[in-house]
Symmetry: C2
Subunit: 157 residues, 2 copies
């Protein structure tokens, strides 16, 4: 389906990290990383697992979670909390920093980035005596084309 496009440099970064940490390069790690780097959207652990359902028994749920954890640790994957009881992830390389708008009706996730907001956040934190290490800004709202939204489960197939 998705061609193993420009994931080379990302795969190399991952392998470099594994070597640096004396972790082994296994087929599962390579397959999962390949899949993640070629997915240009937000995904969940469960969703990632499903991607391997066809090649049944290829990669277990525990391993998926363990690999995700390593990649987050490596700084290659960002974890997001969008108010659900499971986490979302997206790979970082090649993606500029951005925040998210989540449609409360259909679940669609749109990215945006506003330099002014970033600057004001920095100011706000510093004025309270904090040094920023990160932030999470999620805007919830309704996208105005629910009836046609391809992400709306109600509109599936």
């Amino acid at each position: 389906m998705i061609p193993p496009d420009d994931t080379k440099s990302e795969m190399e970064a991952f392998e470099a990290y594994l070597k640096e940490k004396n972790l082994k390069i296994t087929s599962q790690r390579m397959l999962v990383a390949q899949k993640i780097f070629s997915t240009h959207s937000h995904f969940t652990a469960e969703g990632l697992l499903d991607e391997f359902k066809d090649q049944r028994d290829l990669i277990s749920k525990a391993t998926i979670y363990r690999i995700i954890s390593i990649m987050v640790e490596a700084g290659l994957l960002q974890e997001h909390d969008f108010g659900k009881d499971y986490k979302y992830y997206e790979h970082i390389i090649g993606h500029e920093h951005h925040d998210h708008i989540i449609c409360v009706q259909c679940g669609r996730i749109v990215e945006f980035m506003d330099k002014n907001i970033e600057d004001l956040q920095k100011q706000a934190a510093e004025s309270k005596g904090f040094q920023i290490t990160g932030h999470s800004l999620n805007i919830y709202g309704s996208c105005n084309n629910i009836s046609v939204c391809e992400f709306n489960p109600a509109n599936k197939k």
Copy 2:
């Protein structure tokens, strides 16, 4: 400890909501609401439960969760996700809208509010075709007085 200060109007709002929804006014609901309205900080379900540990068996864990749920539904309590695997809450009446800065070292939570950020968020969402229903902005950083921070577990007693 905390005097049952200015919680009258808030208790009235809660009772009004219960009546409106044909829900009953029970001693548990009144006690929990009273405790919540007189707590001017962020708390967790578990922490709230602890507040009743002395009057042992007075209120069960299940009831705490059920009452919190009603109060969130009533719009009297706001739910927050600060990246932990449990939720934080704070009561709304008498509290202007604000966002949060969380110290990654000691867990201290500081509130702030920046009208410019709010406006820019609205603009950003609208430019993507969304109508905002809410947002969550959490800034993570380190407060620069860890060694004396009263909220730092390491500094307890």
